[in-house]
């Protein structure tokens, strides 16, 4: 038994943990996208962005305008768990939001 174990361990090599490249780090990021809809008031969307992401009024307004003019805006990028949390909060205010991997 001892012999077998020695044989086994001697053949086992420790692999070095590879450092995550910037590309791989980005691949693990998720983006929160808010989509345009004709019902929500522009001021309401701005207010919701301020409430949820803590944006200043100008920044929140910029994202809101992007949603309004381009149909969608990436309002946040980061780890998946947090992205899911933000989408859940946006849905709580009835904003159309989805998740996409970067």
């Amino acid at each position: 038994m001892f012999k077998i174990l020695c044989q086994f361990t001697s053949k086992t090599e420790l692999l070095e943990k590879p450092a995550l490249s910037e590309e791989r780090l980005l691949a693990s990021s998720w983006q929160v996208i808010v989509h345009n809809d004709p019902v929500n008031l522009m001021s309401y969307v701005t207010m919701v962005f301020q409430k949820i992401f803590g944006f200043k009024k100008e920044i929140a307004g910029k994202y809101m305008m992007e949603v309004h003019t381009q149909g969608r805006s990436i309002v946040w990028v980061g780890p998946r768990e947090e992205a899911e949390f933000y989408v859940e909060r946006l849905h709580g205010f009835l904003l159309l939001a989805t998740l996409e991997q970067v």
Binding site: P38, V39, L41, Y44, M47, H91, G92, F93, L99
Partner: protein, 167 residues
Amino acid sequence: MNFHQRENGDSEISEIDPLLAFLMVEGIRQEEEEWDCIADSFLATPLAEDALFSQDWKEYVQPGLLTLLKSCHAHVLTDLENMKREQLNAPGDQLGRLLIPVAHRESWLRILNVARLSLAARHRLHDQEISGEVAPDLNTERGKVLLQLQLFSMIQQVLVEIELERN
């Protein structure tokens, strides 16, 4: 109709015409199947291509969001009930008054949105009608719906401004 911001943060809408009071109460009422419609349209999975995630979202997240919205709805209904009760006890020609406690403001903001989304979906309103570019003809049912939508937009706009000023 007048808006007044009290020192304690509560908002008061006074001199509400009986027709507007009626439209307000009627438009805020949500039937059970309408909640399902809201859930399907606005609380749907944000990642449809991931089946397992979508199943979890439907099972765990959606019910939580619906519970949140229904509890907000209950706050709003309480305030509307108070308005109706006050109106019943008031002399015949007195206009309505709605008090929105500061603790209910966020509920109102969410539920006005639910009501507007429901109206737009139920009556298949087009973009110009939703944005208020079409003057409502009160002789028609659709005109009353448009008035309801514009009334909710106006109240929501004022509440958003109050909320933004507060922050």
